[in-house]
């Protein structure tokens, strides 16, 4: 809302390169600018200054009105609580809506719907149902299928597991991770979960007060507990535990992939060494 009393700078001087095929986790507390940033990535918001380049498409501040279609086709966003955006009479129609909007033929859009519904782990019979007769978890999968139907190269996920129970959370994250691998996607995951960031991401970007605060490999980021705490975040539980253990035992163990299995191995080996 530039030029109004409500003007507030939500993002400031962000420069970030995301390489093809990267799984990037974007973390930061509420109001840090994560969602504002991802809305720039497919042209929902335009920068007040600076530019955004995705593939060969460039969005410039103050530039002429541009055709955003190529950008929007390339980058699919799964918003928070995507099931709230379902609206058609049948699941099939809902999934077909996006492709049809981009000029895909009815026949082809139908084929796509049949394909993507399988990708999200739902049976073909669901296609004929009303989306509103499905369970919450199924509705979310249908909404995700609608984004996949656009065949995006970049998948942007805004807290895709919010509100799901723990097993639903794992299922949805595994689904995205498998798609990321099998379709060689570039994935940007907005999350509050350090565990998800450590498990899936190649790189982590930390937002704080509208700026890019930290950016690097998980191992580098999780070495900076104090910096994370200043941004209202913390390290994953495995790192928290290892820090306690190091403090108590005077050791200097470290983790590379942050799983519980790795942590258990490290701690048990250090116990064995002490015992011998």
């Amino acid at each position: 809302m530039q030029g109004t009393p409500f003007e507030r700078r939500a993002l400031h001087d962000i420069s970030l390169d995301i390489n093809d095929g990267t799984f990037l986790a974007l973390i930061g507390h509420t109001g840090s600018g994560k969602s504002t940033l991802i809305q720039h990535l497919n042209g929902l918001l335009k920068p007040s200054s600076g530019s955004i380049k995705m593939g060969s498409t460039v969005l410039e501040a103050g530039g002429k009105k541009q055709d955003l279609k190529p950008l929007r086709k390339k980058a699919g966003i799964v918003f928070q609580y995507p099931e709230h955006q379902l609206f058609e009479e049948t699941v099939e129609k809902d999934i077909m809506f996006g492709p049809r909007n981009f000029g895909v033929s009815e026949e082809k859009a139908k084929k796509t719907a049949a394909k993507v519904i399988e990708m999200v782990g739902l049976p073909q019979t669901v296609l004929e149902k009303s989306p509103f007769d499905l369970s919450g978890g199924q509705m979310r999968r249908v909404a995700i299928a609608g984004v996949l139907a656009m065949n995006p190269e970049v998948l942007i996920l805004d807290e895709p597991t919010a509100g799901l129970d723990p097993s639903g959370r794992v299922e949805i994250m595994e689904l995205f991770y498998n798609l990321h691998k099998s379709k060689s996607l570039t994935t940007i995951l907005v999350t509050h979960s350090m565990e998800d960031a450590s498990r899936y991401a190649d790189e982590i970007a930390v937002m704080h007060k509208g700026e890019l605060y930290l950016h690097g490999k998980p191992a580098d980021i999780f070495n900076q507990r104090e910096a994370l705490q200043q941004a209202g975040l913390d390290v994953p539980e495995t790192v928290q535990f290892l820090m306690r253990w190091n403090e108590r035992s005077g050791q200097n163990l470290s983790l590379s992939n942050f799983t519980i299995e790795e942590l258990a191995k490290q701690v048990s080996q250090s116990l064995k060494k002490r015992g011998s």
Binding site: H29, S135, L164, P166, S167, E237, F241, I260
Partner: protein, 276 residues
């Protein structure tokens, strides 16, 4: 122990549904306790929460708050005054245009005189640490602050029970902690009974008692130390194990001779240190 809420043989069908969402649920809530209700999406836990202050009424069975029955129209105002609900979405909780208007709205509904109202508003915002925000508009508040205002609105009605219906699930880690700490103070210092419907297992770990819901039925009930040792039960209810228990298990698989699963990081570090 004295019961504040008594749920007896409650069965409930949503209109038009053939399978009940709640099946013969019986539950006692003790005065002054912190009770966590956990379960998979669709297990009936939120429906159960809405039974507790008469937002939904059972098809069979009864719900009593002290001696007031939710099904008796002449009791319902007293039931609602005593049992306050905080819902999931902080943006749906606000009705007023400022913090004090919002709290006043609830009191007006109960016909509290103006002088008394002013006193109660200032008392209740102080109890949730929001006294500096009395004239702020909702959009200037963070999610955690909005939820604390919702809690102040409940406190102003001098309730005996606060029900958190996934009230922290849309908040970031800081907001979550803010809300939980606020409610914990009220629980410990003022003896307000807390019922928390949650997916956050670490939060459930610190409850006095835990109820596990599964497919509309109460699958288990007990202290966290006992409930969270039951791996199969939790798995079948769509839940995960808390971090320290998972790590205890992984350590045992690595040959570390732990006598049992530990619930907190601190307890586990202590137990390991004794083995060293």
């Amino acid at each position: 122990m004295k019961n504040i809420i008594t749920v007896k043989d409650v069965t409930f069908y949503y209109p038009g549904e053939e399978t009940p969402t709640l099946k013969g649920v019986t539950l006692d809530v003790h005065k002054g306790e912190w009770l966590s209700i956990v379960g998979h999406n669709g297990s009936g836990k939120s429906t159960l929460a809405k039974m507790l202050n008469g937002l939904l009424l059972p098809n069979e069975g009864t719900v009593y708050v002290s001696e007031y029955a939710t099904a008796r129209p002449e009791d319902i105002w007293e039931v609602r005054r005593q049992v306050g609900m905080v819902f999931q979405n902080p943006d749906n909780q606000f009705v007023g245009t400022s913090v004090q208007d919002d709290i006043a709205f609830g009191l007006e509904n109960f016909g509290v005189p103006r002088k008394e109202m002013i006193k109660r508003i200032s008392e209740s915002v102080e109890r949730v640490g929001m006294e500096a925000f009395l004239n702020q508009e909702p959009h200037q508040l963070s999610g955690g602050q909005k939820q604390r205002v919702a809690i102040a609105g409940i406190l102003a009605q001098k309730p005996s029970v606060i029900v958190l219906d996934e009230a922290t699930s849309m908040l970031d880690p800081i907001g979550r902690l803010e809300v939980i700490e606020t409610v914990r103070e009220l629980n410990r210092k003022e003896g307000i009974t807390v019922i928390s419907i949650t997916h956050d297992l670490e939060e459930a770990l610190s409850a006095d008692r835990v109820v596990v819901m599964k497919m509309g039925e109460k699958a288990a009930e007990g202290i966290p130390e006992v409930i969270f040792q039951q791996r199969e039960l939790l798995k079948s209810a769509g839940l995960d194990l808390p971090f320290s228990l998972k790590l205890s298990e992984a350590l045992r698989q690595e040959g570390v001779e732990l006598d049992k699963g530990y619930l907190t990081q601190e307890a586990l570090v202590n137990a390991l240190w004794k083995l060293a």
